[in-house]
Symmetry: C2
Subunit: 666 residues, 2 copies
């Protein structure tokens, strides 16, 4: 009798080996972290002895599941914001919160929480892609879980690096430190084609080859990504990524929702694994990945939960079931992706996709002892039909749940027994997580309090505190405008002509904030559109005041390029109401009294108001300067023969609001 560390016996052993052998009843012996033997109960019990013999009557013993793609620390962002458009969710919530909160301790805590959840549902290995992967690696190793830890590299600054050079440097160090760890495989995670550069991808591929570590990347998650990529590079995502040498490495591509057949063949030919994330693809409305086709072509396809912020959990049983069901719905054929194949994707298929199938993914002698015991003795798994032994696959995939997992072992170490976690203090983790959540809540509450904070949160805002001196007057016709501009002492720089489409978001906050979204079409002399600018401008009423010469001084506005759509901003800022103003503007740069002014000659089309509006404006950085400029404007007004009572004190947005009120009143 050979002594071993543990024996699992009287189980239905689902090997997931090449022949899909089932041993019912069977037994399995574990020694020094490896599977020592798998066989019939008698055979194993007569050859091995152990102080740790686990009776698995009524249970299935399966390979530990492999979560092929996740962002584990994002457990701490689970439920921060849901049911939003992808851009609002990502750029309005995830990224600002990440920028504020993601630090090594955040990643460590989030990963430990993720490990607790994954172990509870029978996962023994996960492929991660996030920031501070060293903290992820450490948290996973302490939990006793196996992990491929891919450090995210972006062309932008990240929470853990200001530039990608810096990212490459610390990823290099991270790999050197962790390479060879019994549980952790350090890896490179260039985020995606659209968030990296050719150079960054090439450097990642080189590093992956140099250290023989895996490379993890998002590919073709959304249709927009693919369309934009084609427009920019004249080819789909896969060939472009291939061109950067990425597929020379042991690469795994997450998502792959929008691929053509040629791209699939490229992935197959280069041994690139794919990880399918069905819940996330539905929740973010990314689309339906061509899973059955990829499997048919011979790609190794695994299953992932994606990050818990877009799922909202890490339950591989839900993903496996959904993968199997969805493929049938998409193909219109209920024999597509049968149960056995779905379980394979969650185990050995995932191992192949992650290039770690030589040591995990199936219950075979010589592989690491990564094992889950699933208790089948509950009502939702009753009854059992034994006529066809393969019926166990359907039972596991269509009816079993994460909560049926009773015991979990990784590399021979028990991580859970009888549903009690052995390597993690769940209660403490939950309490710590609650603390982080309340800080994130506070951050978001504070941000939501003012439109300005929300604007700042999405970045790229010019936080310059400018002041603006301005005056406005309504003139009956073009003739009077020309007369003024040709007046003495006024030097005119060549004008530009624009059509401006403004949408004002109005807020009932304490500042009566107004946020203007402007589409600014610059016209050529022919009237053709030469260029378009999109800007966001926030102004707050409370800071306005009037000068003696009836010139208004606004405490000036916060300005940002509007890089996203009007729809995005409308959903993100969620204003109480909105008003549109459209006009044609002749803009003149003017010098008067040795000072720069802007003169706008505006004709309003929305609201459609008769006459020509003349605005004189000047920006300033100080109150004193503002007063001096107000004086100069007063002089110009006198020169133009405009009386104080002719001055309009309302902004265009106010005229528009008034017009709307009149209209709805009639």
């Amino acid at each position: 009798m050979k002594s071993v560390d543990a024996i699992l016996t009287n189980a239905c052993i689902i090997t997931m080996n090449d022949d899909f052998d089932l041993l019912a009843p069977g037994a399995l012996a574990v020694r020094e972290g490896y599977i020592e033997a798998v066989g019939a109960v008698d055979e194993i019990m007569s050859a091995y002895e152990s102080a740790d013999v686990m009776d698995c009557s009524g249970c299935a013993v399966i390979p530990g599941m492999i979560n092929g793609h996740t962002h584990a620390p994002m457990t701490l962002l689970r439920g921060v914001a849901d049911d939003l458009r992808l851009d609002v969710w990502l750029m309005g919530y995830m990224m600002p919160v990440e920028q504020e909160f993601v630090r090594p301790d955040f990643c460590w805590l989030g990963t430990q929480l993720a490990c607790a959840e994954m172990i509870r549902s029978g996962v023994t290995c996960f492929a991660d892609m996030y920031y501070y992967e060293e903290a992820v690696a450490d948290a996973a190793a302490q939990a006793g879980m196996r992990a491929v830890c891919a450090e995210t590299l972006l062309k932008f600054s990240t929470p853990d690096a200001l530039s990608y050079d810096e990212s490459l440097e610390h990823t290099h160090d991270f790999i050197q430190r962790w390479k060879g760890h019994p549980l952790i495989m350090p890896a490179l995670g260039p985020h995606a084609a659209y968030t990296t550069t050719d150079d960054l991808l090439q450097q990642c591929a080189q590093l992956a080859l140099e250290f023989d570590v895996p490379l993890h990347i998002h590919i073709a998650e959304t249709e927009q990504e693919v369309d934009e990529h084609r427009a920019a590079y004249g080819m789909p995502v896969v060939p472009w990524v291939k061109k950067q040498g990425v597929f020379e490495a042991k690469t795994t591509a997450a998502h792959c929702v929008h691929l053509d057949e040629g791209e699939m063949r490229t992935l197959r030919n280069h041994g690139v694994g794919v990880v399918h994330n069905p819940s996330s693809n539905l929740k973010l409305a990314s689309g339906f990945a061509p899973v059955a086709q990829m499997l048919d072509i011979g790609i190794n396809v695994g299953i992932g939960t994606d990050g818990p912020a877009s799922n909202n959990d890490l339950d591989m049983w839900e993903e496996m079931r959904l993968a199997a069901l969805l493929a049938k719905g998409v193909s219109g054929d209920p024999t597509t992706l049968p149960a056995r194949q779905a379980l394979a994707m969650a185990t050995i298929g995932g191992a192949r996709a992650l290039h770690i199938d030589s040591h995990v993914g199936s219950l075979e002698v010589g592989k690491r002892a990564d094992i889950s015991v699933v208790d089948l003795r509950s009502v939702h798994l009753t009854p059992k039909f034994t006529r066809d032994p393969e019926a166990i696959y359907a039972q596991l995939v269509y009816a079993a749940k994460g909560s049926d997992v009773r015991d979990v072992m990784c590399q021979g170490q028990w991580l859970m027994r009888e549903r009690a976690l052995l390597t993690l203090d769940e209660q403490a983790l939950m309490e710590e997580a609650a603390g982080v959540a309340s800080k994130i809540d506070a951050f978001l509450i504070q941000r939501e309090e003012s439109v300005l904070r929300k604007l700042l949160a999405i970045g790229e805002v010019a936080q310059t505190k400018m002041f603006e001196v301005q005056v406005k007057v309504l003139l009956p016709d073009d003739a009077s405008v020309e007369k003024m501009l040709s007046g003495p002492g006024i030097e005119i720089v060549k004008p530009s002509v624009r059509r401006q489409y403004d949408t004002y978001f109005l807020f009932e906050d304490v500042y009566h904030s107004r946020l203007r979204y402007r589409e600014d079409e610059v016209l050529e002399e022919t009237g053709e559109v030469e260029d378009v600018f999109y800007r966001l401008t926030l102004s707050t009423e409370t800071k306005e005041r009037e000068y003696e010469r009836s010139v208004l001084l606004s405490r000036s506005r916060f300005d940002a390029p509007a890089t996203r759509s009007l729809r995005f901003y409308r959903e993100y800022f969620n204003p109480e109401s909105s008003v549109r103003v459209q006009k044609k503007r002749e803009r003149y740069r003017v010098r008067y009294g040795g000072t720069d002014f802007a003169i706008n000659v505006d004709r309003l089309t929305q609201p459609a108001l008769p006459g020509v509006f003349l605005e004189i404006k000047s920006r300033t950085w100080s109150r004193q300067d503002a007063e001096r400029k107000a004086e100069l404007i007063g002089e110009m007004l006198a020169l133009f023969g405009i009386q104080e009572q002719e001055l309009l004190k309302q902004e265009y947005v106010e005229l528009a609001m008034e017009a709307e009120r009149l209209e709805s009143g009639s």
Copy 2:
């Protein structure tokens, strides 16, 4: 202080009332089966007292979920057969097993098992449609669950009635006996448009109106149903069902996967509720129901699990999550069907769809106390963000699971506390179910043993044990055929000409069974196809023998009309191999020696063999008669000048197999 039966306090109470009020923390008082009060903790605790005060700290209290469409007794068929085409699954497995096993005790046991599973996941009410609904009603009532019990009515015979008149009669009695029961609503379940008749639907509608009971029907589950309905009636399913007066009743339509907008408006205008079954629709590849559109149009849409044989469980949490995710994937818009709406569908929306919203579906004073307590204190629900109180909906829909339900009450009675079932003996039910499963296994094993039994299992087989005397000869040309048929003593009845496309399924069973699928095109004199017959014929080699005059006597074949497709039979019978034979046949009815014979003059196109084959055949019922006929055939052969050595002893299928062997050998 008013005394009440139970108080649930310190909960987040999710009322699902019209204003979607959330009370966090809140309390709820129950008295005599009804909700007596809902309010803030202080308010309730200062006004009511009870011996049963449940602390719900860290829990959500939600309305008991409503499973809007299921076939509860089918728990006993869970996992019998999976990953098959709909017709193979339904007609090859479900129906034969149902015909053999479905009796009142089966339905009672299956329903109790279903109740155990549903209570465990927080369901307090379900809408059922099956046979022996009285047993379903009794089982549900004993479990303490609320149920709408719709007795299935079909134009065919069912496990509980030989004809629909009989069904109508016992449904009438069932309704009379159960109408007014505090938990059970008896109802009519005309199965679907394609399985009923206009008269049957009309009678169901009348009965529903007469007794003011609900009517439950499947509508537009598959594209095939809709296409065939249009072809048969020149209109889609909904208007035709409406024409039968069905929508005058309180009707609920399950599935509704393939509706046009006009049909949706019809359902809305008639207050017909719809129940969406996302798992089943995917698993059986029925399609993607236009849920978002139906909700937009204003239809009351609930959620159902469908029967556990096509799901394979009764987990409303999975369905709710899937409904929310799938709608986003289908619309391409992640804001479609947000979490609150999904939870509404599983509670008040389901109640509306079933026309029972006046007394269940939300936590409001005066409604029945149907309540579930969901424990939110687990890792997969960590952390919680409280900034937006409505975030609880996303937490429940996207991350919570059936196993998080801690306590369940129906009509003021606790059905589960601290995850212990109080009205059901789960262990005993599971043991009984195991007994049934092993009987079903034995039935299927026995059936699978012989192709004949499988053929018999799908019905309509002519089980006549005929014998056939036959002889076959190859002639060089048409001239010799004509000469024979014009010979003395032979009287010819007008021939028919056919093209016959045969596929033989070959089995390596002990009988060397051959199953022939024949497509028999009867041709007009012009060569046009007049009619087509499809037949299945099973023959078994072992019973063949030769007579002295070298005439073969086959123990004859089992015959059945082939009402389903070749593909169906191929998947259902799963033969070892198959061979095709195609020929043009002139068939003559002939009288010789006062006896009827059939003479076939065949020209083979597959395998393409030269010459003309002549067959003489006669059916017989006894060995003596067979010998007499063999003698007569011998006379005819002599008359035709055919020598014994010219006779072909092979069947066409054997010639085809030989041809295939030669071909693959070359």
